[in-house]
């Protein structure tokens, strides 16, 4: 296999090197890529969509269809991971572990066993190690700020780097951070599995639904200027708002999918304990 791999890699490399000789010089302003379509985007974005961040404008409007499917890709990945890993049946009876908070005594409760009704016990993972208080506290403090930043990234995507996707990933990361610093149960308590899964679909649905709404309003799919009549703005601002709406959809979808994938991967689909 190694030899085949080497041969293939070298063959491909040789072909690419051979072809690269014909490329326009690197960072050449006169290359076809820089002179054919991009000037239109750079010069007309402001007029046509009123979004200064050209990448956002192109992403969510000119090539909004790509982005809708990009969101769908991530959604299908979440769905596929769920389908592959999630097991609802418990294959073997598992022992649960509890820790008495005050004394630090850990109890192993067999399947079906009961604990004395007390609030002093907390459930822990089987591979539990004592939590570092610093990490726990810092994360708890950080997470709201991370989330706030994420919302800013989504909302300010028109004017600065960022947008629904980056914001969504950061939002998702904040919950994942919670799951890592505490445990999976805490994170799932914040974001229940069903809610998470539903929001995934809803996020994509916002995107595709906006497109479909444009279609129902009589213009082509994803032509946000159709929203002008609904939003009571001119058609260019409608595009700007349309972009915001779909970015929010992307944000929701991406956030939830990231959490979903993480939960499934880290718990092996059992949702009982994470890392």
């Amino acid at each position: 296999m190694k030899i085949i791999g080497l041969i293939v890699a070298i063959l491909v490399g040789a072909l690419l090197v051979y072809a690269a000789a014909d490329f326009p010089a690197w960072s050449d302003p006169a290359s076809p890529a820089s002179t054919y379509l991009s000037p239109h985007f750079i010069e007309k974005t402001m007029e046509e969509t009123s979004v200064p961040n050209i990448v956002t404008a192109v992403l969510a409007d000119y090539r909004g269809f790509d982005t809708m499917f990009e969101t769908t890709v991530i959604f299908s990945a979440g769905m596929a991971v769920f389908l592959l890993l999630r097991t609802f049946r418990r294959e073997e009876p598992e022992a649960r572990h509890y820790r008495h908070v005050l004394t630090g005594v850990t109890l192993r409760v067999k399947e079906g066993g009961e604990l004395p009704p007390s609030d002093d016990f907390e459930r822990i993972d089987s591979l539990w190690t004592p939590h570092d208080l610093i990490i726990k506290t810092v994360c708890r403090l950080l997470i709201p700020f991370i989330q706030l930043f994420a919302l800013y990234v989504i909302a300010h995507g028109h004017h600065s780097p960022g947008g629904g996707f980056q914001g969504g990933v950061i939002l998702g990361a904040s919950i994942i951070l919670l799951a890592i610093s505490q445990d999976l149960r805490t994170a799932v308590k914040r974001m229940a599995e069903k809610l998470d899964a539903l929001l995934c679909s809803v996020g994509v649905l916002i995107y595709a639904g906006t497109g479909a709404l444009c279609l129902l309003l009589g213009l082509n799919f994803l032509d946000y200027s159709a929203l002008a009549s609904v939003l009571h703005v001119d058609s260019i601002m409608a595009r700007s708002h349309g972009i915001l709406i779909v970015e929010i959809g992307v944000g929701i979808a991406v956030m939830c999918t990231m959490i979903w994938i993480y939960n499934n991967v880290s718990s092996g689909g059992k949702y009982n304990q994470g890392l």
Binding site: L15, D22, A33, L37, C200, L205, N220
Partner: protein, 498 residues
Amino acid sequence: MSLQYPALIVVVPLLSALVISIAGWVNKRWCFPITVAALAVAAYSSVGLLFRVLDEGVIVYKLGGWDPPMGIAYYVDHLNGLVLAVVSIVALLNAIASKKSIEQEFPEKIGPFYTLYVLMVTGLLGIVVTGDAFNLYVLLEIAALTGYGLIAMGGGRGPLSALNYLYMGTIGACFYLLGVGYLYIMTGSLNMVDIAGILPDLYQSKAVMAAFIICMVGVWIKMAFFPLHAWLPNAYTHAPSASSSLIAPLVTKVMIYVMIRLILTIFTPEFSFNILAVSKPIVWLSVIAIFMGAILALKERNLKKMLTYIIIAEVGYMVGGAWLGNRVGMTGAILHIANDALMTLCVFLAVGNIVYKVKGAEFEDLQGLFRKMPFTMGAFIIGAISMIGVPPTCGFFSKWYLISGAIQAGHYGFMVALLFSSLVNVVLFFRVFEICFYEPFSDHHGHGHDRHPEPMDEAPVTMLVPLFIVAAILVLVGLYTGDIVNHIIEFAIPKGLV
């Protein structure tokens, strides 16, 4: 509304996939009706679209209202109109047919399964309908990712096969992406028609040639063209019935469509056949593919796996036909996309029925099936006969065009390969029939004894009716080959190709 057909084809399944995923959490029983309704709308729109194309010629649909090449546009011409109709009809029939087997194989995950199923169909339809080279990549990945999930649901070696498929599929898709990047760096455009307009000045460029080669290799990996086929047999064999009867008929065929689109639209026949002058070696490669597919199929003792090797041979048919470089061969390749999709569906649905009842597709499991499942086997025979290439089933006529193309191109090796594969198919299928027919041998053979046959144990009606419909379509498409070729495929191939 008919103006919006191109969008509806993709958007309706997409939206319903999302609704299904929600319904899966609320009430599982809603998933199936929504799936069928969505696919029915897609099928209706695609057939409607095909008829509109027949009337009006190429239909351009601007997504987001942006003019191409700024925005993304759909171009529906005769070529993808035909493929769209086939894909959506196959998906619809398979969805109906596989309801029971899905309920049997994974009752808990009906919702996610149907979601991925419909998303996969969305991806495939999108690949076919789009006119943007990069958009095609994204849709390719949707079809692929959902495909990995659907395949890995099969037990046993399913996950491992799916993982291998994922590695190969990702390499293939990335190669395609890289090829598109090469085109973009040379032309600055991503719109297929636009690229085709710019390219003629660049035909001598090494980068364009490299782009072509890389794209081709990527697509070949995805369609399992020999020797890049290693992922296919295991993946398709170990997939659950419902997935394999969706994926086997469609994925390779859609990738062939992409290849033909690359040849005909983006790079134009002029470049592909005349300037590059690689037709001959590629046809020889497909000859090898056909021989190897046929020979490897011979050694398999599992019905499903045997069929997967036949698919590899069939891919060889279409690649070879497309690369013969003449009109007849191309006609054969395009016709075979439709025909092969339908006949693969037919045999895989029949196998699905068998697996549903017998719980296996090893040759030993097949004994006495003619008695046990006569209707399923009847339809299987029609599918098999079509694969062998016997008139009036459709498989014969595409083979007719392919062989004619080979004769016109003077490429007798390809003709021999096609005939060889037909003969091997006879052996393969009649070996199966023999097992179903003769075995188990009765103890006291001869006359005067009424045997005590196994009682009939047929698959449910919902599985049989779609199977019969497909079998009937095989014959009908065969009889209407003339019309399909004259009214659709004739216009799908550019005038320049003779």
